[in-house]
């Protein structure tokens, strides 16, 4: 059998070069990860002690103290944001998945959701500042909560819709054939396995989960709640 040796070698060289590049790219990506984690732990580890969790931040220049106010503030704010965003996001996601085929409202909502998903968090922070902080007159935990919910809602909607669409149609049809009403099919037949999948997916892949995204978004919450810098947190917290 005759093969074009030079063409064959050329193809193999090109392949080897591109594969080598992809290997190098992976090494660079992982090196950055290891580097960042190393810097974080080597600098942050010795500063960790119980006082971080048990004491409030003192006035600047005073030794000692911890970050209790910031940690508690973050937890409360994220908890409330999850409480606000989950029902809204899940119900809107159900609408898109269950009633959203060939439906004008649904297709517009889907597009709007894409826009919200890609909206920079600063812009959402500006909106909450204008609506909540300017009308209430001061920074507050409410404003931070609303800002974080606004970030989380589009993520919840998109994940809910995608997961519900992954449920096989035969399951749905079987439930309808037994005479189940639509709301029961949606909440009990489609949502239950979708929830399991979603939980697994979000546990395995942090970017699908809205929680990390809302906990780590610093820009909207620093303006709207001013929690990290706010020593008198209890006065602004309702």
């Amino acid at each position: 059998m005759q093969i074009n040796q030079s063409l064959y070698n050329q193809r193999r060289r090109k392949n080897a070069a591109i594969m080598a590049f992809s290997g190098v790219a992976s090494v660079i990506g992982l090196a950055v990860l290891v580097w960042i984690l190393f810097v974080l732990f080597s600098n942050g580890f010795y500063a960790l002690d119980w006082e971080i969790f048990t004491q409030d931040t003192p006035a600047p220049g005073t030794p000692g103290g911890g970050l209790r106010n910031a940690i508690v503030g973050s937890l409360i704010m994220v908890g409330c944001a999850v409480l606000i965003s989950t029902p809204i996001g899940v119900l809107a996601g159900i609408y898109l998945a269950e009633f959203g085929d060939a439906n004008k409202t649904a297709s517009v909502t889907r597009f709007v959701n894409e826009v919200m998903l890609s909206a920079p968090s600063v812009v959402l922070g500006l909106f909450v500042f204008a609506v909540v902080v300017m009308t209430m007159g001061n920074f507050s935990g409410y404003a931070g909560m609303i800002a974080l919910s606004l970030i989380a809602i589009p993520v919840v909607i998109k994940t809910t819709e995608n997961m519900m669409r992954m449920i096989p149609g035969s399951l749905r049809e079987a439930a309808f054939a037994l005479g189940a009403p639509h709301w029961k099919v949606a909440t009990m037949v489609v949502m239950t396995p979708a929830c399991c999948w979603r939980w697994r997916a979000s546990a395995a892949r942090p970017r699908h989960c809205s929680l990390p995204r809302s906990t780590t978004s610093s820009s909207p919450s620093t303006w709207t709640a001013r929690w990290p810098t706010c020593r008198s947190g209890s006065t602004t917290w309702p």
Binding site: Y95, L126, L150
Partner: protein, 329 residues
Amino acid sequence: MSTPIQAHDLGHPHVLAIAKRQRLHDALFYRVSQAFAVLVLMALIGIIATLFINAWPAFREFGFAFIWTAEWDVVNEQFGALMAIIGTLATSAIAMIIGVPLAFGIALFLTETCPVWLRRPLGTAVELLAAIPSIIYGMFGLFVFAPLFADYFQIPVQELMAGMPIVGAIFGGVPNGLGILAAGIILSFMVLPYMAAVTRDVFEVVPQILRESAYGLGATTTEVVRHVVMPYAFKGVVGAVMLGLGRALGETMAVTFVIGNAHRIPETINAPGVSITSALANEFAESFGMHMHTLFALGFLLFILTFVVLALARLLILHVEEGKGSKGY
């Protein structure tokens, strides 16, 4: 109930009552879920309207020239958005130039060449990188990356290129580790894992049998990826790049730490600059009056920018799908 209801007895009043109640429940369920979907719609309209109303005084004062005026004078209240727009576009462009090939390479490695036992741990590590909060990238950039970048990249490169006519000018500037290029590199670190993870997912969806057929015809791995995987996964790859670009355009904290925050047009890529997001993060809390309206106008422009990027991605995908003649493969 007195008599058991037979399956065929659909006219039984009890059955009719159940059916009626269920129809009511369904209608209610439909309306409630629709109301929440519409709520999201209203939220977006509210966001756009609020931003525009608050930005309106600035637009009225400066007109369309606001977009291409390079002036930022807080004392005399003369503002233009050009410097911030340039900073945002330049850092995002650098992030994309570095990040897209790297993300593509990582996805390629994870799906095609990596040994199977290593795929999961490596993939998880990339996703872990995606979960690091952006403010940590900023702190890392400022305290760790910037000094090293100045000593081992900016100064040697400047010495190397000092005599050259054009590249020398591009890499000029004070080598203090902060500036447009440093911000772009930190941004590329930040958007890299998002793009890599999504691209990897999209590559994995390509049916294995298509790959095997191509290998069976004698194609090299590169050719399989180029002619089989890429056409199949094109839509998802565009989505991944757009996700990264959207993140890069809207990123606040990571950029603010390293861009240098100087209101001037950067003459070189090592010069400090300002981006829309860093201007907002630095100045918004202390602003009032026209200054604040201008910052709202900047936010509005950023929103429009990300919207345009999203719309362009949609158009690109539609265009390619049309070129294929049909949506099925």
